[in-house]
């Protein structure tokens, strides 16, 4: 039970966990690619991204090429929070197997 409490609640939510996982795989993701890959509604995805941004886990970059494009990436804090989240999950599994 103690290990479970160590899980970062911001990341543990299913939608945000999927976003963090994708962001962990590449340097940055465009909003369009994230939306297409996750199949989330705009409202849902923006709400989750705002939450993660406010917590300092996700950085936002806005560019204007042919049209405005927003990209997202994990901050250093976000990357270490995600790594820690994985470590806690692994511990829960190890403890449960004993």
């Amino acid at each position: 039970m103690l290990e479970f409490n160590k899980l970062d609640k911001a990341i543990h939510e299913k939608g945000r966990l999927a976003i963090m996982t994708l962001l962990a795989t590449r340097v940055s993701w465009s909003y369009g690619d994230l939306k297409a890959e996750l199949g989330m509604s705009d409202g849902n995805l923006i709400t989750h991204l705002r939450t993660l941004h406010k917590l300092g886990l996700v950085a936002t970059t806005k560019e204007v090429r042919n049209r405005p494009q927003t990209s997202y990436s994990l901050t250093r804090k976000g990357r270490s929070a995600f790594t820690e989240y994985l470590r806690v999950l692994e511990n829960i599994i190890k403890v449960g197997k004993r």
């Binding site: 999927a18 795989t25 590449r26 297409a36 890959e37 199949g39 829960i92 599994i93 449960g96």
Partner: protein, 220 residues
Amino acid sequence: MDERLNAEENLRVIRQLMERVTVYRAISAPTALVGGILSILAAGAVYYNNEVQLVLGRAVRPREFAVLWIVVLVLAAIANAYFLWREAARSGRPFVSSGMKLALQAITPNLLIPAAFTLWFFQTGYLGAQELELVTVWVAFYGLGLLATALFAPRSLAILGWAFLLTALATPVLSEWIDRLTDDAPDTIMGLTFGLYHLIYAITTWPRSRRMAAGRPLAE
């Protein structure tokens, strides 16, 4: 116990999602099967006409040879687009996914030299009956194109790429021997690479690709 099951489920979801976006199979097993069969048929038809019975009343001309293989390429590309679209629709993912964009960015530069060489072949190259050179360029750059996706493609695709590239490199050495054997080295090499190699790839990757296709979409 519930905690452990939840943790296992979350790790499974994370792993599948990571694999889904970091592994992209630009050529599906069904495409390889269709491409392989078409290539064997094309190579067989040319061989039959040139070496067994002159159905056309003459041997296949160099430009006809190139046109035939371009038709095979177009049909295989259409089949590939269809199979990728079907798999995307089945798993609830976009057809033009970030993985496909990445694969196209990696493959496209490798197609420029074969395209230019083919244009040259149609203009003047055919006069010198340079089919063997054309085939070597096609096989080499197709292999390089596949290898360009190796960072995010399954290992089987990289092995296929190496098989093409090594065959192209061995062509200058082996072409005379193949010519003695079949009397038509360019046609034999096309049948061997685009036909047989693709069939082997299809057979060896088919069960795995079926399992991947059966996977549920994540993070709905």
